[in-house]
Subunit: 346 residues, 2 copies
Amino acid sequence: MASRNRFFEVTRRGMSAVLAAFTAFAILLPGSGLSQTAVTSPFFCSNAAATEKAIVTFVERVTKQGSPDFVPPTERIATFDNDGTLWAEPPIYFQLAFALERVKVLAPLHPEWKDKEPFASLLKGDLKGALAGGEAAIFEIVTVTHSGMTTEEFDKIVRDWITTAKHPTTGKLYTEMVYQPMLELLAYLRGNGFKTFIVSGGGIDFMRVFADRVYGIPPEQIVRSSGNLAFELRDGRAILMKLPTFNFNDDKAGKPIGIQTHIGRRPIAAFGNSDGDLQMLEWARGGGGVRFALIVHHTDAEREWAYDRSSSIGRLDKALNAAQAEGWTVVDMKNDWKTIFPFGSK
Amino acid sequence: MASRNRFFEVTRRGMSAVLAAFTAFAILLPGSGLSQTAVTSPFFCSNAAATEKAIVTFVERVTKQGSPDFVPPTERIATFDNDGTLWAEPPIYFQLAFALERVKVLAPLHPEWKDKEPFASLLKGDLKGALAGGEAAIFEIVTVTHSGMTTEEFDKIVRDWITTAKHPTTGKLYTEMVYQPMLELLAYLRGNGFKTFIVSGGGIDFMRVFADRVYGIPPEQIVRSSGNLAFELRDGRAILMKLPTFNFNDDKAGKPIGIQTHIGRRPIAAFGNSDGDLQMLEWARGGGGVRFALIVHHTDAEREWAYDRSSSIGRLDKALNAAQAEGWTVVDMKNDWKTIFPFGSK
């Protein structure tokens, strides 16, 4: 365990760049002795030998030169859902929290909202009333807060919000509500030559503002739902306007479609937490050779939240059945994760 | 000129991997002396000092540590059109040549085509008659040849074709009809920390089959037009079916939209050859700081082809005006390129 602990201490001190540089260098020189020193340390702050072993065994099989299961680095594509997989999602999806706050900011420009649902309830502080309209209400709130500005203006709005807004339960920044074991898993996979992607039902322009800093995943490796855009020359300068219409819904069957359109390769590993991720996990598993599928099961009401088959957010029902039937790896957060968030737990 | 020649000889011998490894290593160690050894060799087999100097000056400005124009490697996004910019396009777009040949292969399964245009003319060998229907005819030919199979089946069809089909004029493989100076430009930019993307009006699944091998651009760095897909479980295995409907047209104003949706960063350099690339070039130029836009002007009827303002393929009219008005770099193929194709010229 000594070498494991040392690895975790190093990454926790923010020195993962050293590791990344070392590993990238090893990958660049496939013919040299250095290529034999692929990072094999496990990534979880984990009590769960079985879960940990499943991941490490998979990575060792696909990275070992000469192994029949060897996968070249270019094909080592790993896709991650975001909400509930990389960061928390209760009490409401964080991007929806952003949209609700934006409604309040924009209200003075929209006097008609006083008499129009879902805005009227929302502005009176009645969130339950505002969301009583279900998906249509949410769609309307997201639309008015995510369109009508240029992509660069939206980027600044998100940047200002994400650096200051606090989670209602923990009082932490939303970007602190990420799962420490998953950060280490991302680093571990990248250290073994994987290219990591986020494939999420949320809006593409929202997450790109901070995913590079928080997860080490650059904008071009984010596959998400997107609205339509319009190209314009404004005073001779090219801009893109965000339109109030929907282009692509990157959820459920939309996930493998988004992956194919964006990445063009079938992932060899996929990570999710809800029924919205089922098709992505099936897509990853459906390729030839060794494949890996993992589900994060929210089982820790004390340190995080506990929810699955009957939850309105992050429902995990069919995908849990599939995981059991197909033998996918299921993380039991309560028993498998020693640490939940970088700051500890809820 | 000695060092320039050596650089080109090395790349021509297929040893660009050595260069890439060296440069990547230099980038990984920004604090070391190695970071000062960024590759500054020019890339063109060029007689054109001015064109060459424009590119080299741009790259030196954005890569020099401490320079006010310095751009970090993550932001060094360069986007390239394909048809007419990276490979040739006369007498017809190569992907259309593929589609036409597929019609002949598929004809026995479609007896009704004997009496139905554009297929009837095409099967009689009357290409002009087949294409008399204009864009609608082309759209129909592309649709029937690019849908109705899984993404993996289509991949195999393209792979079989592209490794054997020959260009009607030169008798060379289509993948040999790439521009040697542009291959060197791609290597030069990547050697200086740029991430290179293809942004093309052609279909996304077609080019991904060979772009990695031919251009060193992996599938996930290709932004192109795409058809709709449908997720299915076939005998329990996840597949994606290619549907006969169009999803996204990555041409003209579609190019900056495709770039934003896929890459999420505004390119700092863009390369095209026709009016279909105008908006992409404007988008690249419209960002802050130093930006670079280049147009390949087909001026060499002898060694390649000569066409611009009145051509039905690769029309270069408005974009040429813009280049002149805005001071973009225009490559005069006849006078600027010593070599056209890796095998020489037409």
